[in-house]
């Protein structure tokens, strides 16, 4: 794990359960997290949860499309997100809890880091969903 991921996981594990309209544990494993870097291919600003999809290039150059679940749009909206905050083509870094069903390339997002370094809380429904503002180490 790189330093960034360690920092994120530390943040995630130290904070409390946030929210969701469904049981997080039925779908995701909070202890099975990865950080992915990819390019947004689709954004769904929808109820009950937001979703976006990213193309992630593997070590052999193969591209895999991942489905990333975020918080409820009304919750994100009040926190400053807009339906247009993420755009197709944006390169993002996301830390996700992986789906239990490994045949699904899917995760529940804790934090999304935008190309300009801004970090945004993704409203995850999982343990540790309440991210803090130190997702870029050293920046407060």
């Amino acid at each position: 794990m790189d330093k960034l991921l360690s920092a994120l996981v530390a943040v995630a594990l130290s904070t409390a359960v946030v929210a969701g309209h469904h049981s997080f544990a039925a779908e995701y494993n909070a202890n099975d997290q990865v950080t992915l870097v990819g390019t947004i291919t689709k954004v769904e600003w929808t109820n009950p949860h937001t979703w976006f999809f990213i193309d992630v290039k593997g070590p052999e150059g193969q591209v895999v499309n991942w489905a990333i679940e975020g918080g409820a749009p009304t919750v994100l909206y009040r926190e400053g997100w807009k339906p247009t905050s993420l755009k197709v083509g944006d390169q993002v870094t996301v830390t996700i809890a992986l789906a239990k069903d490994k045949s699904r390339k899917q995760g529940n997002a804790y934090l999304v880091k935008l190309p300009d370094g801004r970090c945004v809380f993704a409203g995850s429904s999982g343990p540790g969903g309440a991210a803090t503002d130190n997702c870029t180490p050293g920046r407060r």
Partner: protein, 253 residues
């Protein structure tokens, strides 16, 4: 947790330039007490309606979101039948939770979500409008009693309300027993009566005691206590749960 969310929100607000009052978000709620710096004065006195009753009107949000009632209640007195059902739901990671498929949540967890609800206090009816899944409850305050016989039990039951000095007391029965009280899977039955006691302590704070009396699922009545904070400069937002429910297809034990 509130602090963490606050920090996250702060980061966002400083990072993303906000438009001016997009839809209802950010439009200053009129006619509410504010301090010199424009912030809502949450500790101002609780208002009264024209007829002198405490005024509960407003948008309210739980000060602490709770999805598993064990985190808010010391001991939940499950009956043997209640425990059997609860254990089964726990063992299957709550994958059969109706609310995960956009069916109604039980009243306890619905009050404690991260989405607010609005109280609209009118003559004869007080409406509770929940943002989550855009649902409403009608609490009849016209003096009628609860129906003696329930020939059509309901997800949300049938509610009447009355004032006990400055506390609004809602009594609800006639439940169909399908809703889970929380995401952990605490069950309910058609024998359940829920009593909610709301008291607006000051302008910005409302306390609630919710008493669950369901002798099929629990051995005695038990209470959930919560605090709600008035939400200003925002309004209910649309939440159509059925729009894009992708989760239930991925539920695994």
């Amino acid at each position: 947790m509130r602090r963490a969310i606050g920090l996250a929100a702060l980061t966002l607000l400083s990072a993303i330039p906000l438009g001016v009052a997009a839809q209802w978000q950010g439009y200053p709620t009129p006619r509410i007490p504010r301090t010199a710096d424009g912030k809502v004065n949450l500790s101002a006195p609780a208002p009264k309606t024209a007829d002198g009753q405490p005024d509960l009107n407003g948008l309210w949000l739980a000060s602490r979101a709770v999805f598993d009632l064990r985190l808010a209640v010391k001991e939940i007195p499950l009956s043997p039948e209640g425990k059997r059902i609860f254990d089964e739901r726990q063992a299957t990671q709550s994958k059969d939770d109706p609310s995960a498929r956009c069916l109604p949540t039980g009243l306890p967890v619905r009050a404690l979500l991260r989405t607010p609800f609005k109280i609209v206090q009118g003559p004869g009816t007080t409406a509770i409008l929940y943002e989550s899944s855009t649902r409403f409850r009608q609490v009849l305050t016209d003096g009628r009693p609860l129906p003696k016989e329930i020939d059509w039990p309901a997800w949300q039951g049938f509610s009447i309300g009355r004032w006990d000095t400055d506390t609004f007391v809602i009594t609800t029965s006639g439940f169909n027993g399908k809703a889970w009280l929380d995401q952990a899977g605490h069950p309910s039955s058609d024998a359940m009566t829920i009593t909610e006691r709301f008291r607006r302590r000051d302008f910005g704070h409302m306390d609630m005691e919710m008493i669950i009396d369901d002798r099929k699922m629990y051995t005695r009545p038990w209470s959930i206590n919560a605090e709600f904070i008035l939400q200003a400069d925002t309004e209910l937002l649309e939440f159509i749960c059925e729009e894009n429910e992708r989760d239930s297809a991925g539920f695994r034990r």
